[in-house]
Amino acid sequence: MFGAARTVQKSGANLQFVRTKRIRAGLDPVAQRVVTQLSVISANRKMPKMLKLSKEDFVKHVTVMRAWGVVRKEKKQAEEAQLKQQYESIKEANEDLKHVSQKLFEAANKLEIGKRFPLELRVPTEYPSRSGWFYDYTPRKL
């Protein structure tokens, strides 16, 4: 999406992207190291190039972004609706339980301090390990 970083053009010589290569006379290696580190941190020369779109492509871009917005909004609304439904069911079930058995109701509503997801729970990856799922696992004691 962005152009390559700008290079320094000087008349005659075509210098490369010289941030780490240029040696300044009179600087000892330690000071040079600091200078290099500072130049890496600085935002100088890191501004990406502005896009120049033709009118048609601008409209197409806007269309794509809006469609994406519509899709994302629909997805979010569906998720919210589902969560709401879940919440309503939990509430209804608890209301029933309250009348059926006070003991069970209290157990269901105990404050779950210290509740943890199992450490074996992984954030899914596109390419999971070859060995596959480990079915006979027992939770590890910490």
Partner: protein
């Protein structure tokens, strides 16, 4: 190959003005890539150099499909609206805007062809309103406030329409920015006004008043308001929004006070000339032909006729070397020349 397979390429129920008239542009917007290069770029060199965004040709048809599907749903919702409901017209307009708002052709026209939009279409009115609110409306209100047109003529304004103004001078077709200082040569002929409505309007009646609140009133040691031009019962609609000489010639009853150019007297400073546009409920009754211009009570007039101010404009003029010529043209006596009065020195 067109990306459109649904409502946006059907013109049985939709107006044909929602489609781009330029064929090359239309094909460019309805195909995944740019089949004949970037049409909107002018020079050959920039056309050759231009590179489209990578991957846009793959994602664009999908995006178009999503939005077209959504539009189709909205159109079917319009069909199922209750026609007897009191808010039917409002709901319909809202949904019609929502259905066409994201149509790439409409977006293109609203962005790049602002002067030739079909104002009978709610979606174009919506886009025009947004443009107006983004600049002209704020500019007008800023000028009205800093020049104290509000509250010197009318107490306030809640702008509903855009008012554009130009004078038939020098054959220059240019809209005048509110607050501009104009010479008497420019203002010698009656102006043309464009009143752009952002709601659906088929035959509303409008009144226009042009007043100069800076006429010196020596008796009161103050200023008075002069009515320079009064126009009433002008029928405007979304398609025909101009108030110009041609329209006033057709119906001579419209002009109840004939145009008198602002001819400022020497040394009276810059005069504000305010244009007020009112929407009428019915024909105007308390506006007789040949109403007295001097000491015009604009607030009284508005109250008597039950007018609602919907738009305004303001210009400024000054005495200049041409003013006497304009006076002669309209058969007016020579203007007074004001000089500073020498106040006797008061001891203590």
């Amino acid at each position: 190959m067109s990306v459109s397979k649904g409502v946006w390429s059907k013109f049985v129920k939709r107006s044909p003005t929602l489609a781009l008239r330029n064929k090359a542009l239309r094909t460019a917007l309805l195909s995944p890539d740019l089949p004949s290069g970037p049409v909107s770029l002018k020079s050959k060199a920039s056309k050759r150099k231009y590179q489209s965004i990578e991957g846009l040709d793959q994602i664009y048809p999908l995006a178009y499909e999503v939005l077209e599907k959504r539009s189709e749903d909205i159109y079917s919702k319009i069909e199922s609206l209750d026609k007897n409901s009191p808010t039917y017209a409002e709901q319909k307009e809202e949904l019609e805007i929502a259905a066409e708002k994201f149509n790439p052709e409409v977006v293109y026209m609203a962005e790049y062809m602002k002067n030739s939009l079909d104002r009978t279409q709610p979606v174009f009115r919506h886009y025009l309103k947004k443009t107006w609110e983004g600049y002209s409306k704020m500019l007008l209100m800023q000028r009205l406030e800093t020049l104290a047109v509000i509250p010197d003529t009318l107490p306030t304004l809640e702008p509903k329409v855009e008012v554009k103004l130009k004078f038939p001078h020098n054959n220059q077709d240019r809209w005048i920015e509110p607050g501009t200082l104009l010479s008497s040569n420019v203002t010698k002929m009656p102006p043309s006004l464009e009143v752009i409505e952002f709601k659906e309007s088929t035959g509303d009646l409008y009144t226009v008043l042009m007043v100069d609140p800076d006429t010196p009133d020596l008796a009161q040691d103050s200023y008075s308001t002069t009515l320079l031009w009064g126009v009433k019962d002008v029928k405007l609609s979304n398609t025909d929004s101009m108030i110009d000489a041609k329209k006033l010639m057709q119906n001579e009853d419209c002009e109840f006070v004939e145009y008198l150019p602002p001819v400022c007297e020497k040394n009276t400073g810059k005069h504000r000339i305010a244009f007020w546009v009112f929407r009428q409920d019915g024909p105007l009754e308390n506006a007789p032909k040949g109403l007295r211009r001097e000491f015009f009570k604009i607030r009284q007039f508005v109250e008597d006729n039950k007018l609602t101010p919907v738009g305004a404009h303001v210009i400024r003029t000054l005495w200049d070397r041409n003013t006497e010529n304009v006076r002669k043209m309209y058969g007016l006596p020579e203007g007074r020349v004001f000089t500073r009065e020498r106040v006797p020195y008061l001891k203590n």
